[in-house]
Amino acid sequence: MILTHFLKGGIQSRSVLTMIGLLCVIAILIPIMNLVVPPASPFHVPDHLVPLFGKYLCFAILALALDLVWGYCGILSLGHGAFFALGGYAMGMYLMRQIGARGVYGNPELPDFMVFLNWQELPWYWYGFDQFWFAALMVMLVPGLLAFVFGWFAFRSRVTGVYLSIITQAMTYALLLAFFRNDMGFGGNNGLTDFKDILGFNIAAPETRAALFAASALTLALALLLISSMVSSKYGKILQAVRDAESRTRFLGYRPEKVKLIAFVVSAIVAGIAGALYVPQVGIINPGEFAPANSIEIVVWTAVGGRGTLIGPIIGAVLVNAGKSWFTGVLPEFWLFALGGLFIFVTLFMPKGIVGLAKKLSNFSRPNITTNKPQSSDGAIAKPAE
């Protein structure tokens, strides 16, 4: 019953269904093209590209998570990188414990950086991370809990608009400073790295990487299904009502703070999972992931693809990151020009992103739920539309 309802919501939109299908196909195809197709063939995918594509997919999950709160609820979070990084750290802690006695100092209990800092025993918050199920639970629980506490306070006292954006930024900045400290027990400046195994498989082996890629693609498909069913349910309608006219929704008898809180927590959990998939593929997690600039970059992926659409953020994340890889390889000095220009161009000329533009071009006319109305909650300081 729940499952049918769930699926019905998910497959209502044809483009979402197409995207889910496409993701399932590449989840199988890319590993085959990497492992089975001989290197001489033009269809062969080289080893170094698999984790790169996997990284793009993790970013796509993250952008999708942001889209749930920004595109559908009007909460511009400038701190989603924090949830991503927390998920990543939880996974990183598991991977650190898996190194065991193979570290530089050969201590079976303590990770290298703790031996280096002369720590005698494992801090209590590292307990349990040698078990995968526990780490997987923490990947979801820690970002979810932070989002719950943060959102509960913020939404209850009606912090909205740019104020909310700024305190989310302050949150990720505070975490950045905290994780840079050595005595936090998370490796300080260097973060967690030198991973060896995941679930008993060598993390650098092409087979493991292909499996991680497939897992990322399937997770993205699942996240898409989850979020699309969320936004097309009755809850999704209220969510969008909160976005377009928060006060009016409140006067109609709904509790906007609860509606927002659910979306914020779900989004944070999805972002945490994205981080957990990201870390084994890039092989490192460090406090740099908490940098406020990273969180703002997530926003631009979503904006480029089209916020308030479900496949937009995925397209945006993949395109922008592919562009980043290309630019940093060919013209490293111009990447920031390109990124900055993209920010300005998209906000000025493509408010609905690539997907919105495509819709406009193909004259696809159905009642649009993603209209950019001025957010009434900002009316205090915003210039009313003239």
Binding site: I167, A170, A174, A293, L336, I344, D378, A380, I381
Partner: protein, 537 residues
């Protein structure tokens, strides 16, 4: 720099060097001739006269020779009748301390002294420094005696006290005498008197001296010392609070400068300018360029470079701000979140532009002479650049208050802040007000950049390090209220500095951030919120 200027300055430098060298040679020789008299001196009385003569000269250059004499290392070389210092295997010149030759194979004659002469030497040595012409030398001599409590110096010190005219050095000498008395006398009354003199000093050195005394003393002096220690501790605690407040105000004024421009644009236009930090950076780079020009063409006026950099930085950043407003932001009114993103894009472009032109590394911006150095008030060391920045931030605050309250632009800005539609209906050109506000806010940021270039590294990332702090100040202080920004910045600065001794700098910052996040929950519109119908959503 033009060639004749270079030549002329080199020429004058050379002349100056010759002059200085000539002078020091002359002085050396007078000390040197007196010292050479030891070679021909016969008997203790003549040696004593020469010692007195050196003491009267009062030149510290004679000190090594006198010390060598009291240690028995000052000898005569009969072969050429000269006086030398023996140090290990080498013979040293008694005045310059340079090695003349090796001691081996030479029959040297020791200049003999007795105990009365040793006392004369010690007196001459301390007299040399305690009664030197230079007040700083006297001061440091008295300080040294205080630190060592050397009883042998008492006599010289007494003499110096009767001759001293500078009040502060006199009291320092009296404290030095008290420190000697405290350690030598058996008379409890004298001890207590000495304790009270030392207590007046009231710093850490006095504290350690008294603590050492208290540990070994008995009876009444012990109690007096204990009481003095408590009083000094109380005083030091007060100074420490004063120091924290000072550091906090200094940090707060920096925060204020960085945030005030943001507060204006945010208050009037509801626009979050993420490129605000880059305006600060542009102001700092303008300072760098102005200083480079001064260094190249008019080094003599380098001290005034900041005075030119201030208006220039204002103009440059105000112009950039105006272009931003006219080119981008005016199309995004009513969409504050989009504005935030677009201005972030501008900030990336500005950063990369500066990085391309000036390179990614720090550029050196010099302090003019009136901004370098420090002075002391009690236990507080106050650096001039920090003091000037506090003065400057207060001046900026005053000017902005006047602009907002006394000019027609200010009146219109306040009207638009309170109710944009009504202001527009009353005939205010809100578009023009927006553009001017944005230019003003950006210009102020540029001037802040000039100030920050004096205390921070000028790099393309300069703006990034201030932007989050500035946001915190603005949301904490409340929007559209200059007093809110001032109070917010100062209280955050002071809170940070009071937390730092307990938690360390990073944790203090984290705690302040958490405090602000919690504070926003209680008062979503900041410390000084504007109230009224127009403000509520």
């Amino acid at each position: 720099m033009s060639l004749p200027v270079v030549l002329r300055s080199i020429f004058s430098l050379v002349i100056l060097l010759f002059f200085l060298a000539g002078q020091s040679i002359a002085q050396d020789s007078s000390v040197g001739t007196v010292i050479q008299k030891f070679a021909t001196a016969k008997g203790f009385s003549q040696v004593g006269k020469i010692i007195d003569e050196l003491g009267e000269l009062g030149d510290p250059k004679a000190a090594p020779a006198l010390r060598a004499l009291s240690e028995g290392n000052l000898k005569t070389d009969p072969s050429n009748n000269s006086v030398v210092i023996v140090s290990g295997d080498n013979l040293l010149d008694p005045v310059t301390g340079e090695t003349i030759s090796e001691a081996a194979g030479k029959s040297l004659k020791k200049i003999r002294i007795k105990n009365s002469l040793r006392r004369a030497i010690t007196a001459a040595l301390s007299g040399m420094t305690l009664r030197a012409q230079d007040a700083e030398i006297r001061r440091s001599a008295a300080q040294t005696i205080f630190d060592t409590s050397d009883a042998g110096q008492l006599e010289a010190l007494e003499k110096a006290i009767t001759a001293e005219e500078d009040a502060s050095i006199l009291s320092l000498m009296k404290q030095a005498r008290a420190s000697i008395v405290l350690n030598t006398t058996d008379d409890p009354a004298a001890m207590i008197e000495a304790i009270s003199v030392i207590q007046e000093r009231g710093d850490r050195e006095a504290l350690s001296l008294l603590s050492a005394f208290e540990a070994s003393a008995e009876g009444e002096p012990k109690q007096a010392a204990a009481a003095a220690i408590t009083r000094i501790n109380d005083r030091l605690e007060l100074w420490e609070i004063g120091q924290n407040v000072w550091y906090g105000l200094s940090l707060g004024s920096v925060l204020f400068l960085a945030a005030i421009g943001l507060a204006i644009t945010f208050g009037v236009m509801g626009v979050i300018n993420m490129a605000h930090g880059e305006m600060v950076m542009l102001g700092a780079y303008t300072t760098f360029v102005v200083q480079e020009i001064f260094r190249q063409s008019a080094p003599a006026f380098f001290d005034y470079s900041l005075l030119l950099a201030l208006p220039l930085a204002f103009l440059v950043t105000a112009l950039v701000g105006l272009c931003m407003e006219r080119g981008i932001i005016r199309f995004l009114y009513g969409r504050p979140l989009e504005t935030l993103l677009a201005t972030w894009g501008v900030s990336l472009v500005l950063q990369q532009t500066v990085r391309t032109i000036f390179g990614p590394t720090n550029r050196e911006v010099g302090n003019p002479s009136w901004m370098s150095g420090a002075f002391e008030i009690g236990e507080l060391s106050i650096t001039w650049n920090r003091l000037w920045i506090i003065v400057f931030s207060l001046a900026v605050f005053a000017i902005l208050m006047i602009i907002l309250n006394k000019t027609s632009l200010g009146l219109q800005m306040r009207a638009v802040t309170q109710n944009r539609r009504m202001a527009s209906a009353m005939g205010i050109r809100t578009n023009w007000v927006d553009a001017m506000t944005f230019a003003l806010g950006s210009g102020i940021a540029g001037m802040a950049g000039v100030a920050l270039s004096q205390i921070d590294n000028v790099s393309p990332n300069l703006g990034q390090s201030y932007i989050i702090d500035s946001f915190m100040v603005v949301v904490f202080g409340g929007v559209g209220n200059l007093w809110g920004t001032l109070v917010g910045a100062m209280s955050l600065g002071v809170a940070n500095k009071f937390l730092e001794p307990y938690t360390g700098a990073v944790l203090a910052k984290i705690l302040v951030l958490i405090f602000i996040i919690l504070f926003i929950q209680r008062r979503p519109r900041g410390l000084f919120a504007i109230r009224g119908r127009a403000v509520d959503a």
